[in-house]
Amino acid sequence: MSILEPTAPVEAESLFRRNMAAFMENRLAFGSAIVVVLFVLMAVFAPWIAPNDPYATNLFFRLQPPVWMEGGDWAYPLGADSLGRCILSRIIYGARISIFIGAAVIIVATSIGILAGLAAGYLRGWVDVVISRLVDILLGFPYLIFAIGLMAMMGPGLGNIILALAYKEWVIPCRVVRGETLATRELEYVEAARALGASGRHIMLREILPNILSPVIVVATIRMAHVIILEASLSFLGLGVQPPTASWGAMVADGRAFILVSWWVSTFPGLAILLLVLAINVASQGLRDAFDPRFTE
């Protein structure tokens, strides 16, 4: 990465690496991070892991119970839904949607938020006024209703979900970045960079940004859990990805009608949402503890 690779090994240790070491020591958070990684691997390798085709319907196995219940079959370990599709396979494929949308929204929103926050916090003046008021206005809308409105306007679809969620999500990193930028721009090394002829762009991207990245990473991971829930909510309401694409929220919705007789149809995708969101939350708490000096003893 650097054009200045040291000629001999030196014990260069960045703040980031030290923080990561602290994170590893937190067993609960580290375990949760492993769970998140497992979910990601599951999503990536879905075609090799899934026991069945998630789209193959088989009406003979309609509402088949999970394997440990009476009438269960190893062919469908977690049972089958109302169209006789393998629930486990659909959960494995559904992880792709949740994680992809969660990651995509966070990447888009964080990128926009970083640029807007840096501009507002460093340039101040009218730029700050415009961006900050826009943030205030967007914060005034209830998130889900805003997203529902956008989805209704744009129609369902993967790209549209990402847009509908990123449309408001960027204000969260933006506020964090703006606040940190306001504090950092007054520091001596930023002034020193100015005194040596650094341009505004250089100061924002090279002097300020690397120094405020830790809280941004923490916020991004915390928010990813929220975004996954929001995507599930949209899919539950039928505004998410198009059926028959497997999505956890849509699967919960599918099982709603049979919840009293075939509880497994809704419950397992619900548990998947719970487990992934919980793991991300615990891991991000651990990240925050490790990265935020206010939480370190």
């Binding site: 040291p6 020193a192 002829g197």
Partner: protein, 340 residues
């Protein structure tokens, strides 16, 4: 005027608008820096020495602004330059090192990255081609670090600022400032955060590099000892004004202004062992709504009603000027020619 003048500041007035009123941090300051010379700026905290040179660098920001004066650097009126052109001059023609070396380096980037960016931005004699350019930048970064006295520079390029000691960081700051070979280096209290042995090394380094690069240096400090050893000329500032200026040896041997005399008298010296140190009584006046009179009046042992009007700089010997009406009065001269 003469071709020997590199920087000329005339009637600089920099104010800060605060709720308590307008603070005039720099009030009618004239500075002349000749080519190749080292000018010392001495004064207490709040005397306006840093703000004067922040104004020269175009680094004064809201709520501060330059109200009047002209700043001419090598024939260019810096106040008339666009922000972009001024930015291009900073670092390349005039570089400034900041007071606190411990916090003046970006903690998130390695020293090598910071030097490389400085070189990439300002050096225009780099070879074409990506790899050749990188190699040249790296070589020059090592050269700069070696020049400022950092051993095994090649290895230390990959280290972060927190892995260096205070003196080393100050050296890195100087290497950064000198990377583009500026014609004027403004060193704002380069030794304040360092211990005494390191102070001497850093100042020696600045002197050596000044001779080598043929640049001018402005050394901002509150340590008269530093000025005595390293500066050709000295300017003493008090409450936003220059109160005395002249060749260092003369000013220190025969200070004309009561404030300079007070400063010198308040330095502990072995020769005056057993005698009490004589600090200047009182405090620097607040710079809001100053009355039109000598600013040192409240603390001056010689003050009387004649001092209750604005005092101008006046000649005080060859190449010397001071802002005191007492300079020409012979008996004062006698009364003050004490043991300095």
């Amino acid at each position: 005027m003469s071709a020997d003048i590199l920087l000329e500041v005339r009637g600089l007035r920099t104010v800060f608008d605060t709720r308590a009123g307008q603070v005039c941090a720099v009030d009618g300051v004239d500075v002349t820096v000749n080519r190749g010379e080292c000018l010392g700026i001495v004064g207490e905290s709040g005397s306006g020495k840093s703000v004067t040179f922040a104004s020269v660098m175009g680094l004064v920001r809201v709520p501060g602004r330059i109200e009047a004066g002209e700043i001419v650097f090598d024939g260019i009126d810096l106040r008339k330059l666009s922000a972009k052109k001024m930015q291009a001059m900073r670092g390349r023609d005039i570089a400034m090192t900041m007071q606190d070396a411990l916090t003046a380096l970006n903690p998130a980037l390695t020293v090598g990255e910071q030097l490389a960016e400085m070189l990439a931005a300002h050096a225009d004699d780099l070879p074409p081609g990506r790899m050749a350019r990188r190699a040249a930048i790296r070589a020059r970064a090592i050269e700069m670090l070696t020049r400022v006295g950092i051993p095994s520079a090649g290895e230390r390029l990959g280290q972060y600022p927190h892995e260096f000691s205070g003196g080393m960081r100050q050296r890195i700051m100087i290497a950064l400032a000198l990377a583009a070979k500026p014609r004027l280096l403004i060193a704002d209290e380069p030794t304040t955060a360092l211990d005494v042995t390191i102070q001497a090394q850093v100042l020696e380094l600045i002197s050596a590099l000044r001779a080598e690069f043929g640049m001018s240096v402005v050394l901002i400090t509150h340590d008269l000892g530093v000025v005595a050893q390293h500066c050709d000329r000295v300017m003493v500032m008090y409450a936003g004004q220059v109160v005395e200026e002249g060749p260092t040896a003369q000013v220190i041997r025969q200070p004309r202004h009561p404030y300079t005399q007070g400063l010198l008298a308040s330095i502990p010296r072995p020769a005056r062992r057993g005698q009490p140190i004589r600090p200047i009584q009182g405090q620097v006046p607040e710079l809001v709504n100053l009355p039109p009179q000598c600013r040192f009046l409240e603390r001056c042992p010689l003050a009387d009603d004649a001092c209750r009007h604005p005092i101008d700089m006046r000649p005080a010997g060859p190449e010397r000027r001071a802002r005191c009406i007492r300079i020409t009065t012979p008996d004062i001269e006698k009364g003050l020619s004490h043991d300095i």
